[in-house]
Assembly symmetry: C2
């Protein structure tokens, strides 16, 4: 199974006029994310599903991925919000696999830092040391075992910022 962890694009800065949850992508953020999405598509990627943090900047990023034909399925997934927990995603994955494992062979998770890099370290090394640098609109690629618990059993095959992709 392939899992792609994709950080949201550049969003407007925090200020008193807008809640963190509602901060949208900037024009530059949208353009850069769109270029990354098209590059992933041109590399032949196709996600069985995109799960996105419910925060606006992540939902917009996921919508750009979907619009680039990277997937026809996108769904908000609250455990990808900043306070989310990987165990909730593991439980979701187990349920999906029991229903139809062929539908979760290539997934994308769209969310935030430091969560995404922490989830990657948890899946690969079984512990969080905050040693992966994931830029906005950057991508982490992992190979997960096709069954069983993926924590500390996965392998890292891709970590890149947008500049290497576009």
């Amino acid at each position: 199974m392939e899992l792609y962890l994709i950080r949201h694009g550049i969003a407007v800065e925090r200020d008193a006029c807008i809640s963190d949850e509602d901060r949208p992508l900037t024009d530059k953020g949208r353009q850069k994310t769109d270029k990354v999405a098209k590059r992933l598509r041109d590399m032949g990627l196709r996600f069985d599903m995109i799960l996105a943090s419910p925060l606006v900047r992540s939902r917009q990023t996921a919508a750009i991925l979907k619009a680039a034909n990277l997937s026809s399925h996108m769904q908000e997934f609250p455990p990808l919000a900043p306070e989310g927990n990987i165990q909730d995603w593991i439980s979701w994955l187990e349920t999906q696999r029991r229903q139809d494992a062929s539908k979760v062979q290539c997934l994308a998770l769209v969310g935030h830092q430091p969560n995404l890099a922490n989830w990657a370290e948890t899946l690969v090394w079984g512990q969080i040391k905050e040693k992966l640098e994931l830029k906005k609109a950057g991508v982490i690629g992992l190979h997960l075992p096709d069954s069983g618990m993926p924590i500390a059993k996965s392998e890292l095959f891709l970590l890149t910022s947008p500049k290497w992709l576009i």
Copy 2:
């Protein structure tokens, strides 16, 4: 400090007629490595030095990087051979830093698997779990602290196979 760990390109298969040390790159290996080298150059990379394993396929890979103007300095470095040890490279780095730290701000090491990925895991997490996938002509990028022991103190910012670069 930036450290790039670059695996040699595709080499001719092992057989009875040639020693492992002498296996050269194939035509395809040379071409792909050259494309990777030119992409790294076009991204603005410039290495203060390229250290290469003494095995033919690594020396040829390093020569391609040098020919692409990624560096004007290339040197064989025996600890990058398959039986080499990262401690010998750490000692070399300490010596270089004592002499002139500005000359080792951006380095490339060209060598073999599993050593390169093991060195990366050692520098980043302080232990080897063999969880990084590094393809031939693939690249790992690390940020090292500018002084002091880099083991378990470095950060991973790039891991990619050639297909994402070329």
